[in-house]
Symmetry: C2
Subunit: 412 residues, 2 copies
Amino acid sequence: MMIITPDNIVEYILKNTDLFSSEPLLVEDISDYNPEEELEGFVNYIYRVYNQERSVIVKQARPYLKCFGESYALTPLRNLLEHETLRLRGEIIPQFTPKTFYIDKENNIFIMEDLSYLKVMRFQLNKMLYFPKFAKQMGEYLAKSNFYTSELYLEPETHRLLQASFINVNMRSIMENVAFIRGAFGDIDYNTPNKKLLNVSELVWSKDEIILECHKMRDIFMKRGECLIHGDLHTSNIFINSDQIKIIDMEYTFMGPYSFDMGYLLANFISQFSAFTFKSNIDQEKRESYCLYLLSTIKEIYTNYVYYFNQCWEKDVKDTYRHVKGYKESILDNFLSEVIGFTACANLNRLISLTGYPDYDVIEDETDKSNAQGLSIAIDQFILLNRNKIKTIDELIQTIVEIRKKFMENRS
Amino acid sequence: MMIITPDNIVEYILKNTDLFSSEPLLVEDISDYNPEEELEGFVNYIYRVYNQERSVIVKQARPYLKCFGESYALTPLRNLLEHETLRLRGEIIPQFTPKTFYIDKENNIFIMEDLSYLKVMRFQLNKMLYFPKFAKQMGEYLAKSNFYTSELYLEPETHRLLQASFINVNMRSIMENVAFIRGAFGDIDYNTPNKKLLNVSELVWSKDEIILECHKMRDIFMKRGECLIHGDLHTSNIFINSDQIKIIDMEYTFMGPYSFDMGYLLANFISQFSAFTFKSNIDQEKRESYCLYLLSTIKEIYTNYVYYFNQCWEKDVKDTYRHVKGYKESILDNFLSEVIGFTACANLNRLISLTGYPDYDVIEDETDKSNAQGLSIAIDQFILLNRNKIKTIDELIQTIVEIRKKFMENRS
């Protein structure tokens, strides 16, 4: 396999594509994780190649997780999968999907549009920015992406071929552990200065009912093949400005449950809600407004999902299902309870594993930070154990508000 | 593709295998459905080839359902799948799996042991024969077959590769319609002489809650990939004598829910129970004893499944799951409720589709027959709608007995 480097990449592009008609081309290595530059990336080598005419991103998968070195093996085929799923989603929801220009299967390289006219959403949320169009865009993205890759729309035979094509044997192993099992991805850091989080973390993972419910959600994640999911949809994989969003990093894609992507994404809104509740360096009124914005975003993502899902159903559901009374409703009932479960698992396990979590790590005051983490853990545990009792999105929001109220009272 | 015929089969076997060392070989075409010969088969051409030394079965898949002619297309690859799943099960439960000798991928032919020293179970049940060892054997077969092809035992990566290898795009389409949707496999025969069944059939399929629950079970069947299931485990696919069983016809195999095979099989025991309740040509005491035997077989298949499943768990479950308190119990709770759902769907849809059903078709008296069908439909509907309330196998048996009691009272 040829390895692309800053030295050979220009020659490679000119030889294999017609993307650029004039030289010189400039090259920038953007694969390193660097919070200041607002980029996250653990598994690929990524370059920006550009001139005055255009700018593209070149992504090469290496057969291991970059940040863990060569001992952590991963299939480089994931780049082919990502390219294919981007092509597929480009047909369904082109407005939210980066354009792809070129795939080199032999060397696991693909070239896509440069999204640097947009920003990574996580860091914009950290900065307390508002994106009024986001919830509607995300609801539409999730609903259409789910519906049109599901067997509600596709013939069962096509659906099964998609499942086999995107079986994605290895990449799934990461998420199915990280999001559901404490300390699955590296040892717990018992020397952490954050003793409060460590103690809470030990306490949480001593509760049989928490461990059991995490494993039940993990089971749904691993075994239920309903639609092609993104599989790693957090706010760092959303590029955004006030008008539009683009979703990146689809290499975890496989045939999974309808509810996972939304659940995993909402975890980041619970975490921002918890963080802003305690960012004491920000004016109280401003951060409270932002907390309300975050909660309304959770609600609006869900209601827009339901709106667009209904729209897809009306327009395109197969006759097999259209006339089954109560079937759509049973899918949506199930959806909310699972979304809640996945949200809880994702937040909880990231926090109690004591790995980095930028939503909290930007909080400078240690007490604020540990309060924010504690609030999220309280919310996550409660909604995980009560997910089947929460029947509407308003009940979920109400529940979160009440838990925060109690948490504040107990603290004072 | 070469087509095997009685004329070329001997030459084919002698050329390609070392199975026989002496001639002449005799050939028998056993692919036709013939109730008197106690054989059922719709999708393959099957020959017995034998001499004084040994006897083997040669099975060739054709790319359509034999009984429907060339217009009903099916992948002939199913023979390769069947051969592979037989090899796999031969490793797990050799005592219940026919030996395979030869696979010809190019011509979709495979050769397996001749099971004619055993009988097809369905017709032995029709004759009111007892098989005291059967429930234990079947419980063991199902538990081990499920457990050792599940991710409770296999590494997730291996499990996913199995899922992709046995995706079985086409064959699954048959069962996922036949067992869950009325009239999915051929039009309803509105000219049937059995007007009573036709009327009940129309009534049942006018109930929204029945249609909805059938579709919910169908969803589980289609979307949940837990273990490699047989996919068509009825009593005609079980060869039996007083000492042993062999399970045949695995071409429907795919990664499905734990509960399907047992559910689908128990449907045949509910049907025999309903049939024997009304076989008025048989001595009342004898058939009542047989009904009790059928019910106790249902119970014992289940309790043996749980026994062997627990045994497999103790011996071989992965550490990931061994220490999760309540996880095994939650799998088994779910299992019973789904078994009940699949049993109900399979019986109900076969009956209300007015297709042939040998368990009832052997009843000569039309009133007896229609009573038997009516009883099964009553049981099927009730347990389908109440499957989540039935918490133990004893409750299920009790429920069946009570429904029969009420059914008899209403009739008299």
